[in-house]
């Protein structure tokens, strides 16, 4: 149960080796934390993430095998996690950022991105929502992206997967309104992670820890949508109103 001061007891991370999700778990109030499930493809990175959280004194950390693209297994997986106890916060944090040029040359790569980032998220997101609804409380945090706010020439395949995910999460949040369960949509800009290593940094670039701090504050305040950093909201507002002929020529 989340207590009166916003201290969660249990957290499920879908995409357990995601750097932003891990930073978020570390930034959460941890005095009451006693169950953290890092779900992802079993890998040295996932093991390292578990060890990382244990090392800073978080108890009850376990790794669970989870494949976002294996949607037929999602129901059983989610039910098993929730059957063992209520989950206060679910971080939906998996996703792949393929190279745009490669995806244009190899649509199969684009399909992988779409399957993971959108199809997989819709599947597990609905299963999680069903269980949060049954337990009558809990927050699903969906890692969206400003890339989904408006399609850009330079990364529209990835952007379109996040646009779909974001629209899904908005509707899901509205469907759950008043049910005790909530959806928090997080739209980060450029974040320095393994995913973006080697790419040119954009203005307003953040570290995973910065995004984590923004997520934790938004959780505490019960927000529905948050940009990271916050002022990106206004940048995106501006960009969304730029006419297409101009927008496609912008160096972004």
């Amino acid at each position: 149960m989340m207590d009166a001061l916003g201290e969660p007891q249990s957290v499920l991370v879908l995409g357990g080796s995601s750097e932003i999700a891990l930073a978020t778990v570390k930034a959460l109030p941890r005095a009451r934390l006693r169950r953290v499930i890092l779900a992802g493809r079993l890998s040295p990175a996932l093991d390292a993430a578990v060890a990382d959280l244990i090392a800073i004194g978080i108890s009850g950390v376990v790794a669970e095998s989870f494949d976002a693209t294996d949607t037929s297994a999602h129901a059983e997986f989610v039910d098993r996690i929730f059957a063992a106890g209520d989950v206060d916060v679910v971080l939906l944090a998996f996703g792949v950022l393929g190279d745009q040029a490669e995806a244009e040359n190899d649509p199969a790569l684009a399909v992988t991105m779409a399957t993971t980032n959108y199809t997989g998220a819709v599947s597990v997101g609905l299963h999680v929502a069903r269980r949060l609804r049954v337990q009558g409380h809990g927050t699903l945090v969906v890692m969206s992206s400003v890339a989904g706010d408006r399609a850009r020439r330079t990364n529209f395949v990835y952007g379109s997967t996040k646009a779909g995910l974001d629209a899904f999460a908005q509707g899901l949040g509205d469907a759950l309104h008043g049910s005790g369960a909530r959806v928090l949509i997080v739209r980060p800009g450029f974040v320095r992670t393994r995913m973006t290593a080697g790419l040119d940094e954009a203005p307003m670039t953040l570290d995973p820890e910065d995004v984590a701090a923004i997520i934790v504050t938004a959780l505490r305040k019960g927000k529905e949508t948050v940009y990271a950093p916050g002022p990106l909201r206004f940048v995106m507002m501006g960009l969304k109103s730029v006419p297409r002929p101009v927008f496609r020529k912008l160096p972004i």
Partner: protein, 457 residues
């Protein structure tokens, strides 16, 4: 607007978001009104995996009277009251409120054995939380005055538990926060009175030492005693009010014709328009200053109506809205006499982070009762309201928990909304004993609450 599809995600018609009085952590439950023991049995027999919980008037500050995903029973139709003047006892439905009860019994010359600071609680809730009042130092908790209670246990069986009989199950239910079954009725002792007025002695106290010394020295002479503390003032100054039921002969001539006249009404309902942050150091210093100055330096034998003496906060409905949507909590501990210094420590540490309130109450507790989860123990209890949004509050309260625990103290489950399961287990050393009895009464775990889940009860 209607939902175009039958959505498994949307809130159903009978479902409500339920929170405690502090309004901090709402969860959704299906609320079912029941009006007979048989209906309660049917609900228990058909309980789903999220369980069943009875809820009274929702004055529990934290999450004790809510249970996400569960069926939450509203027993308000089960509120029959049968008074037996010959034995000074009453049998009341668990859903009867003390408010309704007082309107019946006071004009006939009786008072409830114990009343908390609000009359807006039910009989079932008063027993489940084993509430205490201003007379605890001499007369103990509400549960101590219950002769017998009727309860539907986890098997759906109707049980009559008597204080003198199956003591173990009776005392697991008293203070058991509704987790041993659904109480449907209780018979308890009343206090005979000849007037509806309280004779009150009031003293301003200059600091904490002053109020504590006066309470140690003089509380024995009074049936009712409570200290209000100015939580915004470093001295811990306050106002001590003590009294007893006034005999009819003490009333002024014009009131002697109808000495048991009882009126208690709220004069306002606080609207849900208050933002967070109105309860802050500035407003609290001002409010508490006025409250302190308003009290006489020393006054003897003032006659006050029951409602004014016992339930001053009930003058306004929904006053919890004044804290804004972020809500608030109450930190209430009990510690043995030797740890009286924790009263000052608590006030100091909370004041240091700007956590002050209009409601800060100091009280001496008398003997504990046999209930394994009953809160009061001989010594001191301090209760202080705090806005939930004060930065650093979680850490300060965790630190205070450690001090309370180290002194053999504990927190009140009816107020708690944030202690750790470890604190619970360590500060209620008889938790295991209670759990064994509870498991016998509810072998399939039908009865549960958010509090029970949070504290692993």
């Amino acid at each position: 607007m209607t939902t175009p599809v039958e959505s498994p995600l949307a809130r159903g018609a009978s479902e409500q978001l339920l929170a405690g009085w502090g309004r901090t952590s709402p969860t959704l439950a299906r609320v079912e009104q029941v009006s007979s023991v048989d209906e309660v049995r049917q609900v228990v027999a058909g309980a789903g995996p999220r369980g069943v919980l009875a809820r009274g008037l929702g004055r529990t500050y934290g999450d004790g009277a809510q249970s996400g995903g569960a069926v939450v029973l509203d027993l308000s139709p089960m509120s029959d009251v049968t008074l037996d003047p010959a034995t000074s006892t009453v049998t009341a439905g668990a859903g009867a409120s003390l408010d309704a009860l007082l309107r019946i019994i006071v004009p006939t010359g009786f008072f409830v054995p114990v009343t908390p600071g609000t009359r807006m609680v039910t009989v079932g809730g008063a027993i489940a939380a084993d509430v205490h009042g201003k007379n605890h130092h001499v007369e103990g908790t509400f549960g101590s005055h219950v002769q017998s209670l009727t309860l539907v246990d986890g098997r759906g069986d109707v049980r009559i538990l008597e204080q003198s009989g199956q003591g173990e199950e009776f005392w697991a239910t008293v203070g058991g926060m509704g987790l041993t079954g659904v109480m449907t009725e209780a018979t308890f002792d009343l206090i005979p009175i000849t007037s509806s007025m309280i004779s009150v002695d009031t003293d301003r106290t200059k600091d904490l030492d002053d109020v504590m010394a006066r309470m140690i020295e003089g509380d024995d002479r009074y049936r009712y005693s409570v200290g209000w503390i100015d939580s915004a003032h470093p001295s811990g100054r306050g106002v001590l009010t003590r009294g007893d039921h006034a005999p009819a002969a003490w009333l002024p001539a014009k009131r002697r014709a109808d000495p048991l006249a009882y009126g208690a009404k709220a004069i306002a309902t606080v609207p849900p328009v208050f933002p967070n942050g109105l309860v802050n150091p500035l407003t609290m210093r001002a409010f508490n200053e006025v409250w302190f100055r308003k009290a006489p330096m020393s006054r003897r034998g003032e006659l006050l109506p029951i409602a004014a003496f016992f339930h001053p906060l009930d003058i306004a409905h929904e006053w919890n809205r004044g804290y804004g949507p972020a809500g608030f909590l109450q930190y209430q501990f009990s510690v043995p006499d030797a740890a009286g210094h924790l009263v000052g420590t608590t006030l100091d540490r909370l004041r240091a982070i700007g956590a002050m309130s209009p409601v800060t109450v100091l009280k001496r507790f008398g003997a504990a009762n046999p209930g394994p989860l009953s809160f009061p123990q001989p010594g001191w209890t301090l209760a202080i309201d705090v806005p939930a949004g004060v930065p650093g509050l979680a850490q300060v309260l965790d630190g205070l928990d450690e001090l309370v625990l180290a002194e053999g103290g504990r927190l009140y489950l009816a107020k708690d909304s944030r202690m750790s399961p470890a604190m619970m287990a360590a500060s209620y050393p008889r938790l295991g004993e209670w759990q064994r009895v509870r498991d016998r009464m509810d072998p399939n775990g039908v009865f549960t609450s958010d509090l029970a889940r949070r504290l692993s009860l």
